[in-house]
């Protein structure tokens, strides 16, 4: 344990070994019960909370979607007023993007990423918990606007100058701006955390090109976040200052150019699209090989096409602005860059298809969802090509054709992948399997509902039905397709209910079955080398990796004729240590306290300066508490036992070191 005496990269501020620094700042202890969730810094707990919160927001966003579809069921419906409809569709988009798809990606990333690279936690566990609480409080804050005067009504893209107080005097957009700043902090912190984790904490032997593809795609996603989020944050601050302090960034009378907002928004907004889809691409790149019983086809091509998509994703933003008057040169440049982003995307599709070719396909639910993603995303990608053609886009943009396109990409793409991921990783996370029977129903009902909802939108869009319309007249020929779409939306809702019922029933059923065992799918990657559900300490010892799909090749060995022969059973490989002696990061009160201060400040900016002071006081207190928190409660037996107290004085900022010590003897 020589590392213990080395100078710390990030001093914890804890000057002594007795842990009694400044008295009150003792360390949280509980690792079980509800308090362990509040104070927990375990990446698995954080991941589960991300997922649960995202599903909660999915229900809210889904309810908003149903309201939209009910309003459009028939021409001249009176269910929602224009004002309420505008709020509902704005919040539907905002919720689904920022509070559902991004956090589900974060849920998988948090849970799986350390497991896939053979780490015990992320690099900065307390920051990780802070990210989650920021996201949760930001999301709740955003949705409290419904109770405090109405939601934002400017569309999720919130174009200037319609986002100004002159045109939207309610507080809805204030909530939107501040809520997104808070959730932005969450994503920003999390992206740095995960990047550091992947770059520094991989198991011995796991070079970059031996990482699982989900880890690769998540890493790429975090870089997208890292570079895209500052841009939207700038835009949000400009808007916040305009709305709350009367700044003139978007004030046309004072010479502002409203396209500034569009550029800032879409420089963020387009990478955003890719960072929503890439985690799903990663998930199905894990699922397809397992259920085809073949290695992924073209590992390096899938990896580098993901990287290429990310790079190119920063050079296509103005395709959202083809009709805003950019001038022909800009339009053509962005038209061409957009077209060619289809190349790496197509490479991925074909590689997945080739992965299935020649396999022995086991049609369990995760594979069904993966195949759903391949086909539905292909449709979304092809309609995407049709509006990368700038002249064609002048007919298509801001119509339902676009709505169809991005739902095929983000629902048929990202969400189908997530559903596959849920079914695949459920035993890993919760120790029981979801029912296949209901899973198949879940898939087919979702597949049908999805196509009924969004398929017809291609037609009414090409015909000329604009987006963001709270109503339409009879005799436009929109009626029948809108009715089909509404029926489809309720079919989707049924499927989501099936999923939730499946969780409940499968949980009940699992009690009459033995624990699921470590390897229910005959899986390939490192996360399955740990028992199910994953023990708190993840790995003991940290494994050494020799190749891609290391776990698989411990079970199967190559024969001389290129075939594989089973050499070991999973249960002989899977770790069954009791975790004694593993040092784990201690829980902490401060992440949740610090995150809690942020929405208070935000309420203060809207309603009263006194609240700002209160929120500020909470934040400052939490920062001090965080900084002066002793590395461990000397009295507590945290995790599963101590090794010698000597290396506890790292503080949790130095948990990295603690984790790496565990690596060293293995490597």
């Amino acid at each position: 344990m020589a590392v213990a005496d080395a100078p710390l990269a990030l001093p914890s501020g804890a000057p002594s070994h007795d842990g009694k620094v400044l008295g009150v700042f003792t360390r949280a202890q509980r690792t079980t019960g509800w308090r362990s969730w509040i104070t927990g810094v375990d990446h698995k707990k954080v991941g589960i909370m991300y997922g649960a919160a995202a599903i909660f927001f999915l229900l809210i966003g889904g309810f908003e979607a149903l309201l939209i579809r009910m309003q459009l069921w028939a021409p001249r419906q009176q269910l929602l007023s224009a004002d309420v409809y505008n709020q509902v569709y704005t919040m539907h988009g905002t919720t689904m993007v920022f509070l559902v798809v991004m956090p589900i990606g974060a849920a998988f990333a948090n849970y799986l990423l350390p497991l896939q690279i053979g780490a015990r936690d992320v690099a900065f566990p307390r920051l990780n918990a802070f990210s989650f609480w920021c996201f949760l409080f930001g999301g709740i804050f955003l949705n409290t606007s419904w109770l405090l005067g109405g939601g934002a009504d400017g569309g999720w893209f919130m174009y200037a100058p319609n986002n100004g107080v002159l045109y939207s005097p309610s507080h809805g957009i204030d909530f939107w701006v501040l809520g997104l700043i808070i959730t932005g902090i969450a994503s920003m912190v999390s992206s740095v955390n995960l990047i550091v984790t992947v770059l520094n904490m991989r198991a011995p032997g796991m070079s970059m090109m031996k990482m699982p593809i989900f880890t690769w795609m998540t890493l790429v996603t975090q870089f997208l976040l890292l570079f895209a989020l500052p841009v939207i944050t700038v835009a949000l601050f400009l808007l916040m200052f305009s709305r709350i302090f009367g700044a003139a960034f978007f004030n046309i009378d004072d010479g502002a150019n409203p396209l500034l907002w569009q550029h800032l928004f879409w420089i963020f907004g387009h990478p955003e699209v890719y960072l929503m889809i890439l985690p799903s691409f990663g998930l199905i790149s894990e699922i397809l090989p397992v259920f085809s019983r073949k290695p992924i086809f073209g590992y390096s091509f899938i990896v580098f096409s993901g990287v290429a998509i990310a790079f190119m994703g920063f050079g296509v933003w103005a395709h959202h602005m083809f009709v805003s008057g950019l001038g022909p040169t800009s339009v053509l440049v962005f038209s061409l860059t957009t077209m060619f982003i289809a190349v790496p995307t197509g490479v991925k599709i074909l590689n997945w298809t080739a992965t299935m070719w020649g396999g022995r396909l086991r049609f369990d639910t995760p594979l069904l969802f993966s195949i759903g993603l391949i086909t539905m995303f292909t449709i979304g990608g092809l309609s995407g090509v049709s509006h990368s053609i700038a002249p064609a886009d002048t007919q298509q943009t801001d119509t339902y054709y676009i709505v169809a396109h991005f739902h095929y990409v983000l629902f048929g793409g990202a969400f189908f992948g997530f559903m596959g991921g849920f079914y695949y990783y459920w035993p890993k996370v919760f120790g029981y399997m979801l029912s296949e029977k209901m899973g198949k129903w879940n898939f087919w009902v979702l597949f049908l509902g999805f196509n009924l909802t969004f398929g017809p939108m291609h037609i009414i869009g090409l015909q000329g039905m604009s987006r963001r319309y709270y109503t339409y007249d009879p005799n436009f020929g929109f009626d029948i397709w809108n009715k089909i779409a509404t029926i489809g939306a309720f079919t989707i809702a049924l499927s989501v209910i099936l999923f939730i019922v499946n969780i409940a029933l499968s949980y009940k059923r699992s009690k009459s079955l033995p624990p699921v065992g470590a390897d229910p799918w005959d899986a390939r990657t490192l996360e399955w080398i740990t028992p199910n559900p994953t023990p708190e300490w993840n790995f003991d010892p940290i494994p050494t990796v020799t190749r891609v799909d290391d776990f698989w090749y411990q079970k199967y060995e190559e024969t001389a004729d290129g075939g594989l022969v089973k050499v070991r059973d999973a249960k002989d490989i899977v770790q069954d240590s009791d975790g004694v002696g593993v040092h784990l990061p201690s829980p902490s009160y401060w992440p949740i306290v610090l995150a809690f201060g942020l929405p208070i400040v935000a309420y203060g900016l809207i309603f009263s300066w006194w609240l700002c002071l209160l929120g500020g006081a909470i934040i400052v207190t939490a920062m001090f508490g965080w900084a002066f928190e002793p590395p461990d409660d000397p009295e507590a037996a945290h995790g599963h036992g101590h090794d010698e107290a000597g290396h506890d004085d790292h503080g949790s900022a130095a948990d990295v070191d603690a984790l790496e010590q565990e690596v060293a003897p293995v490597g």
């Binding site: 224009a82 004002d83 009504d153 174009y159 045109y167 019983r293 073949k294 086809f297 590992y299 009709v323 805003s324 008057g325 022909p328 053509l332 038209s335 077209m339 289809a342 197509g346 490479v347 590689n351 298809t353 080739a354 299935m356 396999g359 022995r360 396909l361 086991r362 391949i374 086909t375 090509v385 049709s386 053609i389 700038a390 002249p391 064609a392 002048t394 007919q395 119509t399 399997m433 296949e436 209901m438 198949k440 129903w441 597949f447 049908l448 196509n451 009924l452 398929g455 090409l462 015909q463 000329g464 987006r467 963001r468 319309y469 005799n475 436009f476 020929g477 397709w481 079955l513 229910p520």
Partner: protein, 442 residues
């Protein structure tokens, strides 16, 4: 590793067995076939629907002008290629799913050839899409440049101004660069066969101008002028809708292009340039004129010959009652077939839809031969009889007819200005008088 020794099932296998018990998967399979079938049916129905041009007042795939035709010529082959690619990919995935499915009698641990990749294959399927896209890119470049508006000596220039939630048009007929020759609202009248250059801008938020049958859309951005070309070669009426979200009544902001023969256009111009008709002394309409002047109407609307434009600084519109500084010019209200952002008919439409030529098809005596005036998807024809009930309802309570934001007293930034038309609390008598007056404003 002798499997024979494992007499009892592993936990994994027990879970698998529990999962596959019962007949549900078969039903799910049937349902799955139905789902794929329904999806395919919707797909085929859509293709049919897309190419069925009947009874579609709005239609992005029915070009009636050269610009829209150019776009169509570019995009149709792309749709065909995309469709082929989609069918190939989906068919390939379905075929692979069927061909390489694990048979029930097969050893669950069997596996296929463990291929990890194939460089020539990878390069091929990187190159093929790139080549297809390269071809599309060339077409895009050529078409884009072709679509750029070019202003020649014969081009008719019209300034188009989007406002919450209607459009105004200012014509430059004498080509002196000033758009002061003719002002109208909601309905753009153009001569057939002549290039029109729209100089599109906005008085408040961003809107988007779109006549799908004539050209794609172009945003109306405040503080910026976007040129956009139109030409209609046939006499006809072309409907469009605002396509950039512009606030409360975004859905209630339409525009019309009426293309008329050059002679009709000249006659129309002459009529529009006159001041408003003076109603006969003592008539109901004369009373209506007094109401217009006495009530708030005249503080936003202009009737040339009756009141002066109140806007003193057209750049900022600070002295107007409206945020946009402007309300539709009513001088020739009755020469138009629609009102309120072209969402309501003030005249009977043509019975067979809006592709009918501009010209009378029905008479005041025989409104049975007219179209249904409440069919607002079919715009009213200015030569058809006046349909008063819509206008009366509008004057009774405009906000009920179209969501607007006329009460902004709580918004300090609004500076007392409103967005849209407030309910003026007119009496039934005043409404009758105003409608009578408006009907005379041909």
């Amino acid at each position: 590793m002798s499997d024979a020794e494992q007499s009892e099932l592993t936990p994994e296998e027990q879970h698998q067995a529990a999962n596959h018990r019962g007949k549900m998967p078969l039903l799910a399979k049937i349902f799955g076939v139905l789902a794929v079938g329904a999806t395919t049916a919707v797909l085929i129905g859509s293709i049919y629907a897309v190419f069925d041009q009947e009874n579609k007042p709005l239609n992005g795939l029915n070009p009636q002008g050269p610009k829209a035709q150019t776009i169509q010529n570019l995009v149709l082959p792309v749709f065909v290629v995309a469709g082929i690619v989609m069918v190939i990919v989906c068919a390939a995935v379905l075929f692979i799913s069927w061909k390489f499915r694990r048979r029930t009698d097969e050893d669950p641990h069997s596996m296929g050839v463990q291929t990890e990749g194939n460089m020539p294959l990878e390069l091929t399927w990187t190159a093929i899409p790139a080549l297809i896209l390269f071809a599309i890119a060339i077409g895009t470049i050529i078409t884009s440049l072709e679509l750029e508006p070019k202003v020649g000596p014969e081009t008719l220039e019209v300034r188009v101004i989007g406002q919450q939630w209607w459009w105004s048009y200012e014509y430059d007929l004498d080509q002196d660069g000033n758009f002061d020759d003719l002002v109208t609202a909601n309905e753009l009248v153009v001569p057939t066969g002549r290039d029109v250059n729209l100089r599109i801008t906005s008085n408040d938020v961003i809107h988007s101008y779109w006549i799908p049958e004539l050209n794609g859309k172009k945003d109306a951005v405040p503080g910026q002028i976007n040129d956009w070309a139109l030409r209609a070669d046939e006499v006809g009426t072309y409907l469009g809708t605002c396509t950039e979200f512009c606030g409360l009544s975004h859905a209630n902001m339409r525009m019309l292009v009426r293309s008329v023969s050059p002679d009709d256009f000249d006659a129309w111009v002459e009529g529009q340039q006159r001041e408003a008709v003076e109603p006969a002394e003592g008539s109901l309409a004369a009373e209506g004129k007094k109401v217009f002047e006495a009530q708030l109407c005249s503080s936003c609307h202009l009737i040339r010959g009756v009141n002066e434009a109140k806007v003193e600084d057209p750049e900022k519109g600070v002295d107007a009652q409206l945020v946009s500084g402007n309300a539709p010019d009513l001088t020739h209200f009755a020469s138009r077939g629609t009102f309120a952002g072209a969402i309501y008919n003030s005249r009977y439409p043509n019975p067979d839809g809006n592709d009918q030529p501009y010209g009378a098809t029905c008479t005041a005596e025989d409104t049975d031969a007219c179209g249904e005036p409440l069919d607002n998807a079919t715009p009213g024809n200015p030569d058809n009889p006046f349909y008063a009930p819509n206008v009366e309802n509008w004057l009774r309570d405009p906000v009920a007819m179209k969501p607007m934001a006329p009460l902004q007293t709580e918004n300090p930034y609004a500076d007392g200005r409103v967005r849209g038309m407030p309910n003026l609390g007119l009496s039934e008598d005043q409404i009758d008088q105003l409608v009578a007056y408006l009907e005379t404003l041909r």
